[in-house]
């Protein structure tokens, strides 16, 4: 227990560091969560260090190697596993002979940035709007819900095309993508949050918070957000891969990142037909994407669980396995006494 004197100041958004520390303590005991976090960290580091690693391999993401692909056969790389060699660790891209290893790393930068950014925007707006709709009066709820409807029904294509036409060309593309995907994709979150809020707000602890004089906003932040964290985190972990795929489709329509900058989405969409002729070309981005998604999901799940204080101990009847573990613990205890 923290002593009074060294009690740290609370972090914004979280009730107190005490809680944050507890969450961390619970997380620490889950190997899967730690592995996932490590994987994600590694990916981020790899992405950040892309130029360094490229230098190490002696390649860059843009140089063509026409001699490494078989022009007569559609540009499929010579050699096994997509032309992997000492010079090109993961082989080369069909058609151009560009180094895949470096492109994957550079692609990670854009994809992670866009997907994380867009997910963050979606969650942020979604939670705010959902809370406001769930807590606000009828009018606000009606207004926001209708606004959500409008945005759900507005095809991303139309908006993306219009926006790319209006926004100056030197406006950073990743940012534009984050905005487009983020601005049109928050409806899910907001619907979930609104639904949960409607249920939660009838509970006594929300009433108690009202009595404490908290405004709606404060009630939302202190009482509802912690309970909303679970579905929102789950949803965020799901949105992430979807956003990478959305980025791919937007690249398809020419409103994605500008070539020759690589992104996983762009690689995936060009790799579409190659899965028989050059499986490595498809498997590499798909595999990386999958690992990322898996890590996100596992970590998200762990955080979700760790956020629930009841999870640690509660009157709950466990599955068989858990009960065995518990009884073992009990007998151990006895033996030690």
């Amino acid at each position: 227990m923290t002593s009074l004197t060294d009690a740290p100041a609370p972090v914004a958004g979280l009730p107190a560091t005490g809680a944050a520390r507890q969450v961390w303590r619970r997380l620490r005991t889950r190997p899967a969560a730690l592995v996932s976090a490590a994987v994600l960290l590694l990916l981020v580091l790899l992405a950040l260090a892309a130029p360094l690693l490229a230098a190490l391999e002696g390649q860059d993401p843009h140089t063509y190697h026409d001699d490494l692909v078989d022009s007569a056969r559609g540009g499929v790389p010579y050699g096994a596993f997509g032309g992997a060699s000492a010079d090109h660790w993961l082989g080369v891209e069909p058609g151009t002979g560009r180094d895949l290893f470096v492109r994957l790393l550079h692609g990670a930068r854009i994809s992670l940035l866009v997907a994380v950014g867009a997910t963050a925007v979606q969650i942020l707006i979604g939670v705010l709007v959902g809370l406001a709709a769930g807590l606000g009066g009828r009018w606000l709820d009606g207004l926001l819900s209708r606004l959500t409807d409008v945005l759900v029904a507005l095809p991303m294509l139309v908006l993306a095309l219009a926006l790319t036409a209006v926004v100056p060309r030197d406006f950073p593309r990743p940012l534009l993508l984050i905005l487009v995907i983020g601005l049109l994709g928050w409806a899910y979150t907001s619907r979930i949050v609104r639904a949960q809020t409607l249920t939660l707000r009838s509970l006594d602890f929300v009433a108690a918070s009202r009595l404490a004089g908290s405004g709606r906003w404060r009630t939302a932040r202190r009482e509802l957000l912690p309970s909303l964290a679970a579905p929102v985190i789950t949803y965020a972990a799901i949105s992430f891969p979807t956003n990478i795929v959305v980025e791919a489709s937007l690249s398809f329509l020419g409103v994605g990142v500008t070539p020759p900058t690589p992104s996983w989405g762009q690689m995936l969409s060009t790799a579409q037909t190659w899965f028989r002729a050059d499986p490595a070309y498809v498997l590499l981005p798909a595999g990386l994407l999958f690992v990322t998604v898996l890590a996100f999901t596992v970590l998200g799940d762990a955080v979700r669980t760790a956020l629930d204080p009841r999870e640690a101990s509660r009157l709950r009847v466990g599955t068989r396995k858990e009960s065995r573990r518990a009884s073992r613990a009990g007998s151990l205890k006895e033996a030690s006494r």
Binding site: M1, Q22, G213, E223, P226, L307, A329
Partner: protein, 545 residues
């Protein structure tokens, strides 16, 4: 060779893992309970009673709690029973009535369906038959208009009704052992008497054994053969009910008994007339629209002055909670007028109500639902302080510790979460939170019904102290007539949404005018088991007549 007893507990130890280290909630407890016998676990809040009850059904399995010793129920070793056996034990052999009635029912299903579902687990009957059984048992626990009410969802029930529904669920299964964890805390005396009589009758008819967990010595006196007094997870005293209650040997038991409020105990010296805080005139509240409308509160007028306690008693479902929630404007009245210090607050929009919010507090009836399971109790209590603009973390913590201490909780449990507390402890957290706002008026909805008498005495004393100190106005909703008498200056008796009688304590208790009030007074349980039996006989005669 004698047949082994129905329940055999030996050297039971339960430890809970907490962030700060393990807590031993039950420590080396042993007891047996024969078929058809009744045992009461009595003890102060947090003494481990509910934990013991849970252990009988193996509810700690798989929760991370460490259970030592052995528990056998109906020949089943609870710790090692296989899943099928465990399922048979639960509900089939032993049925449990949980302490927190609001959260113990699934909010999504009709009450009757939930009972029917559980019934069908242990009795292979048709859905329809199970429904019929549900309606039947609901009737037995005194739910009026059973066929219709069985289709209601839990949130449409009052606290007491929910508790009765849970009891009905247990009864439906016809178990050999009924584990009842505070089954009557939310019930008014008449219904409580009814339930206790019912339990009694059941035991006589079906030979069900009863493990009654209660802090109310009176309830124990009426219903059981043996009493086990617990403190800090250990046995203090055990023996036949007459012996333990009549001639307690342990000093703790004696202290416990002496703290029980009595109808003939001392009353408060009426407070001086302070300023009028709340004034309600013809207050009404309906639920539902059109034909389905129910008037939960039907034209209530009352006033509360500062420094004064208004007791509100009445049967379960009479509208006490609804009234209380309207008084602090958590519910919007559908009619009538409500003034707080002269301002009409009955229909003020939330924004304009804000300045008054902190001055009008409420202690909620259901301590589980009123605490956010995801926030530490310290944070919940600190909320009003933070809202008031306090930024200094050290001061906030200091104040919260002070409040925890005042309501009799360990000040170091700032970081603990609601689920780590016993029922009574949660109730006290609720009181601490209400106090943190430094209110002028508190509506206490059954604030002490979940508390053992000693804690109850502490809490009522605390409220009185604060009242004297700060000139608080209190609305004290309770079904325990003795407590109300002890703490109130004036009393209002509610029935069917109306106040049937209102007056000073002396008037209402001394010369009750309304027949209902008289009925209530007659139903107050007695501490003396012999007298309790006599009175039961008389009640049955009355009912038969």
């Amino acid at each position: 060779m004698t047949e082994s007893p129905l329940v055999e507990v030996s050297d039971l130890t339960v430890e809970f893992e907490r962030e700060a280290g393990a807590v031993r909630a039950v420590d080396g407890l042993s007891f047996t309970l024969g078929e058809g016998r009744a045992l009461a676990l009595v003890g102060e809040s947090g003494s481990g009673k509910s934990t013991v009850a849970g252990a009988l059904l193996g509810l700690h399995r798989g929760t991370g709690a460490r259970v030592g010793g052995s528990v056998r129920v109906g020949g089943i070793d609870v710790a090692s029973a296989g899943p099928a056996e465990l399922r048979r034990l639960r509900g089939g052999v032993a049925a449990m009535v949980f302490q927190d009635p609001l959260s113990a029912l699934d909010p999504y299903y009709a009450v009757g369906d939930q009972i029917a579902e559980v019934y069908r687990i242990h009795h292979p009957v048709s859905r329809r038959a199970a429904r019929a059984r549900a309606v039947e048992v609901l009737g037995r626990v005194g739910i009026p208009d059973t066929a219709r009410r069985s289709r209601s969802r839990p949130h449409e029930f009052s606290g007491g009704m929910r508790q009765r529904a849970l009891l009905a669920m247990a009864l439906a299964c016809e178990p050999k052992l009924l584990v009842a964890d505070e089954p009557t805390t939310a019930l008014d005396v008449t219904v409580q008497a009814q339930i206790l009589d019912l339990l009694h009758e059941l035991r006589r008819e079906t030979g069900t054994a009863l493990l009654l967990v209660t802090h109310d010595v009176g309830v124990a006196a009426e219903s059981v053969d043996e009493v086990l007094v617990m403190r800090d997870g250990r046995e203090v005293e055990r023996g036949p009910v007459a012996g333990v209650l009549g001639a307690p040997s342990a000093p703790y038991t004696r202290a416990l008994l002496s703290a029980v409020p009595r109808l003939d105990g001392p009353v408060r010296t009426p407070a001086e007339m302070g300023e009028t805080l709340l004034e309600a005139a013809d207050l009404r509240r309906e639920f539902g629209r059109g034909k389905a409308a129910v008037a939960a509160v039907d034209g209530v007028s009352l006033t509360v002055r500062s420094g004064e306690t208004l007791g509100v008693v009445g049967e379960s479902g009479s509208g006490k909670t609804t009234l209380g929630r309207m008084l602090v404007r958590l519910l919007d009245p559908t009619g009538g007028e409500l003034r707080y210090r002269g301002t009409r607050i009955g229909s003020l929009p939330e924004r304009e109500l804000r300045p008054y919010r902190r001055e009008l507090q409420m202690v909620f009836q259901d301590p589980v639902a009123s605490l956010n399971p995801r926030r530490s109790v310290g944070e919940s209590i600190a909320d009003p302080l933070r809202v008031a603009g306090e930024r200094n973390e050290t001061r906030i913590r200091g104040r919260v510790r002070e409040l925890l201490d005042r309501v009799g909780l360990d000040p170091d449990r700032y970081e603990a979460y609601p689920h780590e507390f016993s029922g009574g402890q949660r109730q006290r957290v609720g009181i601490a939170r209400a106090l943190a706002a430094e209110p002028r008026l508190i509506v206490c909805d059954e604030p002490v019904s979940a508390l053992d008498v000693t804690t109850q005495a502490q809490v009522t004393a605390l409220l009185a102290e604060l009242q004297a100190e700060l000139g608080l106005g209190l609305v004290f909703i309770a079904h325990d007539l003795a407590v109300v008498r002890q703490v109130s200056d004036r009393v209002a008796v509610m029935r069917g949404g109306r106040i049937v009688e209102q007056g000073t304590v002396a008037e209402v208790y001394g010369a009750p005018q309304d027949p209902y009030t008289r009925q209530l007074l007659a139903a107050v349980p007695s501490l003396d088991p012999v007298r309790a039996a006599e009175r039961r006989g008389r009640r049955q005669e009355l009912a038969a007549a």
